[in-house]
């Protein structure tokens, strides 16, 4: 296309992404002194001057400059930004370990209900019985799903859940006068696990994976000892494989007095199929924002409830909503006898919890099981279509996601996992997760989720195959790989990450 000849000043006007690929200026560049969008209630309160209200020494000497734009420019700006943003609602988003499923729109409406969304968190208990009912019922449902005895809904995301779980572990051991110092983590673990272990005051001991992709039981045995507080496992692990030795692992860890922590960030494949409690786990965190209908919001909010076995229930954070035993109200708050204390200012990310409650009500037992079935079916079907084109490092049937490798293609054509990911964007799909788990070379971690249709999965597989074939063809022809500089049709092309770090400009004010 012929580039329109835009003058510098034209950036301030309405360049629309639909019809051009210009950068969208920041809000600050739209700013013009005196312009405004806001209006406030008429209060009839005497309009005293600032220095009549507050001692002058505390007052700022200058105005706090934000931006001065009209409501119209505000809307234009953020609408144009939205048009530069890929999202689940636009197409498939097979990021492994992220469970980018489609979330029912009715959950959005639930979270917008005034009778829930406009409640102040300090409202007395008898005036928030509806909220407490939702929280208690959600806790009960999560316990049934995980096979645990009780749960806290306070943690605001998975990582917060992990740290909460580790503090529960610590409280449990300390209550028995047992000072343990290490927590075992497999090398395939998600990065939050080791980071949380450190914050929980433990040392990380890493154990490797065996040839099947499972925790190496021999290494584990060697690592276990009386100083081990517990082990953190993801199951299915980040290779998408169910840890077949889990019962043995549980036995070994329990034998040395350790606890088993289940990283349940990706609960999709086990819903109604198997429960962490039945595998022998003592502590489970869940990412409601993955499995239970909270869209990711570009990176959050989430909710990371932690469910525990009976022996840990007394340590849960509190106060926590419970069915009232006195009978005067339906629900009340209770502090568990050995509570570790609060891990959130209030009840956790309440509106996210309400979404999860709604999603569970909508799906019910059968619907949740169907989620598991189809999430796993999709992952395996996708994987099987890619056989022979990409490498299958641990070649076993997978659960909700699969990890493939670009190793051979890299050797033969020079194309890297990153190139595949970038090129895929031009086929109308978001990229898979790349270079994770760390134990797979040139990894592409693909989680199709249950909400994508077979037609979509087939098209995704076709696109991945086309990318491989393209690289082979181009390599054979000795031409530069298209994927090596893809994408070129996106709002921006590959960005200079090194420059961003080298010359940090993280605010508009730092630009100049």
């Amino acid at each position: 296309m012929t580039q329109p000849i835009l003058r510098p000043g034209a950036g301030r006007a309405s360049s629309a992404p639909l019809v051009g690929n210009e950068s969208e200026p920041t809000l600050f560049e739209f700013s013009s002194p005196g312009r405004r969008a806001f209006s406030l209630r008429t209060t009839a309160i005497p309009a005293l001057r600032a220095d009549e209200l507050i001692p002058a020494e505390h007052l700022r000497p200058d105005a706090l400059e934000l931006a001065e734009v009209s409501e119209r420019d505000l809307v234009g700006h953020f609408t144009r930004l939205a048009h530069r943003q890929y999202s689940v609602d636009l197409g498939a988003y097979p990021l492994g370990s992220c469970t980018m499923k489609y979330n029912p729109k009715s959950c959005d409406e639930a979270a917008a209900l005034r009778s829930f969304a406009s409640v102040h968190p300090t409202t007395p208990v008898h005036a928030v019985q509806g909220w407490l009912q939702v929280l208690v019922e959600l806790e009960e449902a999560l316990c049934k799903i995980t096979g645990m005895a009780a749960a806290t809904l306070q943690p605001a995301a998975g990582a917060a859940g992990e740290l909460t779980g580790l503090l529960l572990m610590r409280a449990y051991h300390e209550a028995r006068g047992d000072n343990r110092t290490r927590v075992i983590i497999p090398d395939s673990a998600h990065g939050t696990n080791p980071a949380s272990v450190t914050l929980g005051g433990y040392e990380v001991t890493t154990v490797g994976s065996d040839g099947r992709g499972f925790v190496n039981v021999d290494q584990l045995k060697g690592a276990l000892g009386p100083d081990v507080a517990g082990i953190m496992l993801t199951n299915p692990n980040t290779l998408g494989l169910f840890e077949e030795d889990i019962v043995e692992v549980a036995r070994l860890v329990h034998e040395v007095g350790g606890l088993l922590y289940y990283d349940g960030a990706n609960l999709n494949p086990i819903l109604g199929v198997v429960r962490p409690g039945d595998m022998g786990f003592d502590i489970v965190h869940m990412n409601l924002h993955k499995t239970f209908a909270t869209p990711h919001g570009g990176g959050g909010p989430g909710a990371g409830p932690v469910a525990v076995s009976p022996r840990l229930a007394d340590y849960l954070p509190g106060p926590r909503p419970v069915r009232d035993r006195s009978g005067s109200v339906g629900f009340s708050l209770e502090l568990p006898p050995h509570s570790i204390g609060r891990v959130h200012s209030y009840y956790g990310n309440a509106l996210v919890l309400l979404r999860a409650w709604t999603y569970i009500r909508l799906n019910g037992a059968d619907g949740l099981r169907r989620v598991a079935d189809m999430a796993v079916l999709n992952a395996n079907w996708l994987r099987e279509r890619l056989r022979g084109v990409y490498d299958f490092p641990y070649d076993r049937p997978v659960m909700h996601e699969c990890v493939i490798s670009v190793s051979t293609l890299k050797r033969t054509t020079g194309m890297r996992a990153l190139d595949v990911a970038k090129r895929l964007l031009e086929f109308g799909f978001h990229s898979p997760t790349v270079y994770f788990p760390l134990i797979v070379d040139e990894a592409l971690m693909i989680e199709p989720t249950e909400t994508e249709s077979p037609e979509t999965i087939a098209a995704l597989a076709d696109a991945l195959i086309d990318i491989a074939r393209e690289a082979e063809r181009e390599h054979a022809q000795g031409t530069q790989l298209t994927s090596s500089h893809a994408p070129t049709s996106t709002p921006v092309q590959r960005v200079d990450e090194a420059r961003a770090a080298r010359r940090l400009v993280s605010t508009y004010d730092a630009r100049h």
């Binding site: 209060t43 636009l90 829930f116 928030v128 570009g298 959050g300």
Partner: protein
């Protein structure tokens, strides 16, 4: 029951056949039979969208939500969760599905929307805090405080943490909980007449000094005295800022803060029964490599076009693992985008306007209460938009009684103030949404129930 899974019977059969399987159960063959769940989940069957909507309406009716006259409780409660104006435009833009249904911007080529909005958010927070670097969100105010303390301890090497009792009592609780893992020694510093008694601090070193600005009980603390204490102890100064106050008050950055944290729910997020909210954290340039959470930076693409990308990623858990500056991964991006929109809506004039409107309302109410001899103010310190009352009856009882009159009459100070002169006083907060009429009626109602 609605079905969010697209697969038809035929789809399933075809796909299973391709895999050489006869049933979906066989998909789970790798799970030992002994631990598989027999009989399915012990949950009710799914309900239709309409059924659930009816049920939620019924359950919701058991909540007393805030509102304006007639439509809900008139809200005088604050304490980090404020009843601010949220205009339709903020809801409409923040609700766009491109923002709502995106993941963390891992592929910047198709994520410039979220990235640029976060860049704007960071700019706003930097200006509000008066410090050059802001991350792109943390869970809430309490989480931001915990991260700031961790940062300070790591930077100074000292784990002694001096926390003013003017910090949100629940944030102090959360800090105490997580200190069990990190081993920080948290010391509470008492208030005298609403202001931190830094003079009571002994010793000659610490990792950080934490002060509220304004503090939880409404007082505008002197940052200068906190700063000089920090200097004396070799500590960082962490300020918990009510970001709305920045419309009127000096920024903590100019007051000497090394790190500024706080709760930014006030910028476009509904009261939400306490979450999701928005924790912010800003710091001095020299501390950027210890910054917790994501940071968006400006750069260019291959063609030289201005672009945004998450940067200094080596701080983060997915790269540095057990040596990461924090374990945070999922944060509160959507609330940060919401705040960027809301701050764009407010603009330079609006942020001042909501700040002064809250201060005027508080000032007006204080004058009205001063007319009632049976009611005293718990502190005389200069305030921004919150103050505490000592009433003839307990604050918690007052609140219960006033619910029936249509008011959420503030917060009863208990947790975190046990045994102090502030226990069972009533903390009131004011925003631009409170009218003279509402305040007049409220003062009369308080007198009615509390002065007998």
């Amino acid at each position: 029951m609605p079905d969010f899974v697209p697969h038809t019977r035929e789809d399933m059969d075809r796909m299973l056949k391709f895999l050489g399987l006869n049933s979906t159960d066989e998909l789970f063959a790798s799970i030992p039979a002994a631990i598989r769940l027999a009989g399915g989940l012990d949950l009710e069957s799914g309900l239709s969208e309409a059924d659930v909507a009816v049920e939620l309406a019924t359950i919701g009716a058991a909540n007393l939500a805030t509102g304006t006259g007639g439509t809900g409780l008139v809200c005088f409660a604050g304490g980090g969760a404020y009843d601010h104006e949220v205009p339709a435009v903020t809801r409409a833009l923040a609700g766009r599905s491109e923002f709502v249904t995106a993941y963390t911007p891992y592929q910047p080529e198709v994520a410039q929307g979220v990235l640029e909005a976060l860049f704007e958010y960071q700019t706003f927070i930097s200006r509000i805090s008066g410090l050059p670097i802001s991350n792109s969100s943390l869970y809430d105010g309490s989480a931001a405080l915990v991260e700031a303390v961790n940062l300070a301890v790591a930077e100074t090497g000292s784990s002694r943490v001096l926390v003013s009792t003017g910090i949100h009592p629940r944030w102090r609780s959360v800090l105490a909980t997580f200190a069990k893992g990190t081993g920080h020694q948290i010391e509470a510093v008492r208030l005298i007449d609403g202001v931190t008694d830094w003079a009571s601090v002994t010793g000659n070193q610490a990792g950080c000094v934490v002060v509220g600005y304004p503090n939880y009980v409404g007082a505008i603390e002197s940052l200068a005295s906190a700063r000089s204490l920090a200097d004396r102890l070799g500590a960082l100064l962490v300020v918990c800022q009510d970001p709305v106050s920045a419309g009127l008050l000096k920024s903590p950055g100019t007051g000497g803060a090394d790190v500024v944290v706080g709760e930014a729910q006030a910028f476009g997020t509904s009261l939400s029964f306490g979450g999701p909210y928005l924790g912010f954290l800003a710091c001095a340039e020299r501390l950027v490599r210890r910054l917790p959470g994501r940071l968006v930076g400006e750069t260019v693409d291959l063609t030289g076009k201005r672009s945004y990308v998450t940067t200094l990623r080596a701080r983060e858990q997915d790269i540095r693992r057990e040596r990461a500056s924090s374990n945070v991964c999922t944060n509160e991006t959507l609330m940060a985008v919401t705040a960027a929109i809301q701050l764009g809506w407010l603009g330079t004039a609006g942020i001042r306007e909501i700040a002064i409107a809250g201060a005027r309302a508080a000032n007006y109410a204080r004058k009205r209460f001063a007319e009632i001899p049976e009611i005293q103010f718990a502190t005389a310190a200069p305030m921004f938009r919150e103050f505490t009352l000592r009433l003839p009856i307990a604050a918690s009882e007052t609140i219960d009684l006033l619910l029936e009159e249509g008011y959420l009459a503030g917060i009863a100070l208990k947790e975190g103030y046990e045994g102090t002169d502030l226990e069972e006083t009533l903390l009131l907060a004011f925003t631009e949404r409170r009218t003279k009429e509402e305040i007049d009626h409220f003062v009369a109602a308080v007198r009615k129930v509390a002065v007998r």
